[in-house]
């Protein structure tokens, strides 16, 4: 396999760091590696695959000569550098939401729609974390019975707000335990021992941007522009793994036995479904690994017939929800000879 000249934009953030870890674990074949960051971090030394790399300040020509750029920064920085990445000829794999819904940008979950990769125009987008986790969980059920409606309530970890989010939960918990006052800076409100039903910007329809990502990205990834998605996104005092309570309605009948059989063999899924023995997905168990844990699979008893199912899933937001999915896209690009 070709050795890749790789750039990571945002190499010291929580997703950038996890990308390096995942690339190393999967023994991604790197020729030259450039780690880019804000100039205040330039000079930081990072070890990767036994070598030391010096973090560089991001510049407009930083992408020249590279094959792939993994982008692990927010929308505005991604948007700013994208023309320079395109000009350099490097394939951008972007974790921000800036380009996800553009027509000429494939939005890829490798377990679901790998074939889309050939439709790229220099940019491939990595979907939102809760979208990836929920869609990997229902993918095989959708293929079998065609999902036409999803009602989702999320339980999202603080790692969605990066290292600072995780630190704020820890500090908040310590302050609460010591009966000390605590002023949140990262989240809108205190997150320790609390829940915040507000992630990303409010929109006019009463939903948040985060909630509408599941709607629009879900339609694009599943190639179903009639898919109806109702999502409620809630921040919970959990460190790394997102969880989701999902009810799907399908076009075709599907039994619980069939759903379990499909999920047992579903790519990217670990079936953990034995309520009787206290076995089900939990964020502590699904953290620091790549599979989406799925369980609590049961008939939706609020609807007669065999056309709806309820389940519960958990997945590491930093890994499969971001870094791992991006690295999988990079692997796919190499495999398909796109770079």
């Amino acid at each position: 396999m070709k050795k890749i000249n790789l750039v990571i934009l945002g190499a010291l953030g929580v997703v950038g760091q996890e990308m390096l870890k995942v690339l190393e674990e999967r023994n991604f074949q790197v020729n030259n590696l450039r780690l880019l960051e804000h100039k205040k971090f330039a000079g930081t030394i990072v070890r990767f695959q036994g070598k030391e790399y010096k973090v560089e300040e991001t510049k407009e020509n930083s992408f020249d000569g590279s094959d792939i750029t993994l982008i692990a920064v927010g929308n505005s920085i991604s948007e700013y550098y994208m023309p320079f990445i395109k000009k350099s000829g490097s394939l951008a794999i972007d974790n921000s939401s800036a380009f996800r819904l553009k027509d000429d940008v494939p939005l890829i979950v490798p377990e679901i729609n790998p074939e889309e990769i050939t439709n790229h125009n220099g940019i491939i987008a990595n979907p939102n974390c809760s979208t990836i986790i929920g869609l990997v969980a229902i993918n095989e059920l959708n293929k079998y019975a065609h999902v036409n409606r999803m009602i989702v309530s999320t339980y999202q970890a603080v790692s969605g707000a990066g290292i600072e989010g995780m630190a704020e939960l820890r500090k908040g918990v310590i302050a609460d335990t010591n009966n000390e006052p605590f002023e949140p800076k990262i989240f809108q409100h205190e997150i320790a021992f609390n829940l915040i039903p507000h992630i990303d910007t409010p929109l006019e329809n009463g939903y948040t941007k985060e909630e509408m990502k599941m709607f629009y990205e879900g339609r694009k990834i599943l190639k179903n522009d009639k898919l109806m998605v109702n999502c409620t996104c809630v921040r919970v005092p959990v460190m790394r793994s997102h969880s989701e309570s999902i009810t799907i309605e399908t076009e075709k009948d599907i039994t619980i036995e069939k759903a379990r059989e499909l999920l047992k063999n579903a790519p990217g899924v670990k079936l953990v479904d034995d309520l009787e023995n206290g076995q089900y997905p939990m964020p502590k168990d699904s953290s620091n690994q790549d599979l989406i844990y799925v369980g609590r699979i049961r008939r939706d008893i609020s609807k007669d017939g065999l056309k709806s199912i309820t389940l519960w899933c958990c997945g590491d937001q930093i890994r499969k929800g971001a870094a791992t999915n991006a690295v999988q896209i990079a692997e796919l690009a190499v495999e398909k000879g796109i770079v």
Copy 2:
């Protein structure tokens, strides 16, 4: 108003203690008060309305001469003493789930079905905490548009497992912060920085007993034996308040404006619904008070038309979810001259 001879069975538990607090706050007129507990707690001194009371060991004749017995113990103890309470002529207001679904036992949320109180046969049951919270939130919407389907995901506080549950979360959080191992005793798994999608006993249909309470109790309280309820109950690392993400489908059309107007004036409800300005129900805010906070009210965009709505609510599980509701039933009984 008549002064009541009152017994509290389970007076030192988290609900019993809160009952005393609520009775005091609401200036409930007590003539004689007996506080019953397991014999190991007998002799404990409790202050109530300026007087000191000595906790007594529960005996079969402890209820003789009383008008009302508030029961704040589990099913087996409630079941054991119920014949003696009945024999004494004391009206039992029972917080356990043992009698809730019996035909001759009214199951009452005073904001919803106070008229049922006259149908008692010596026992009135207090509904399950998450049922009370969810139903108070949707009560006025149901009256207006007739709810026929509910899809609910709960975020339930550890206080549902009493003082020990709250202590276990605190200890777990401290152990995690200090990187020390922690062995859960109260919950099936660690609850600190985790979620457990398993409350009460597993049933054959793949739901837990807790989840089916919303189904059966909901039908009984709303007097709608066709109500379809799909509930997912999840324990979260929050101390006192339960939260619920609820989607309802209705028989009649209902606009969001109408829903907001109804909820603004709904008994027992505080409307907190201004996403734009970061205002919505959160368990930290709804703790230590009696109202159910309702917000995030919006069109269910997974369904066309005006027959479904999604909302988010929070309520103190120990207060409105248990103690306050029981005291409200006692007040109603006095008011109606039943005791």
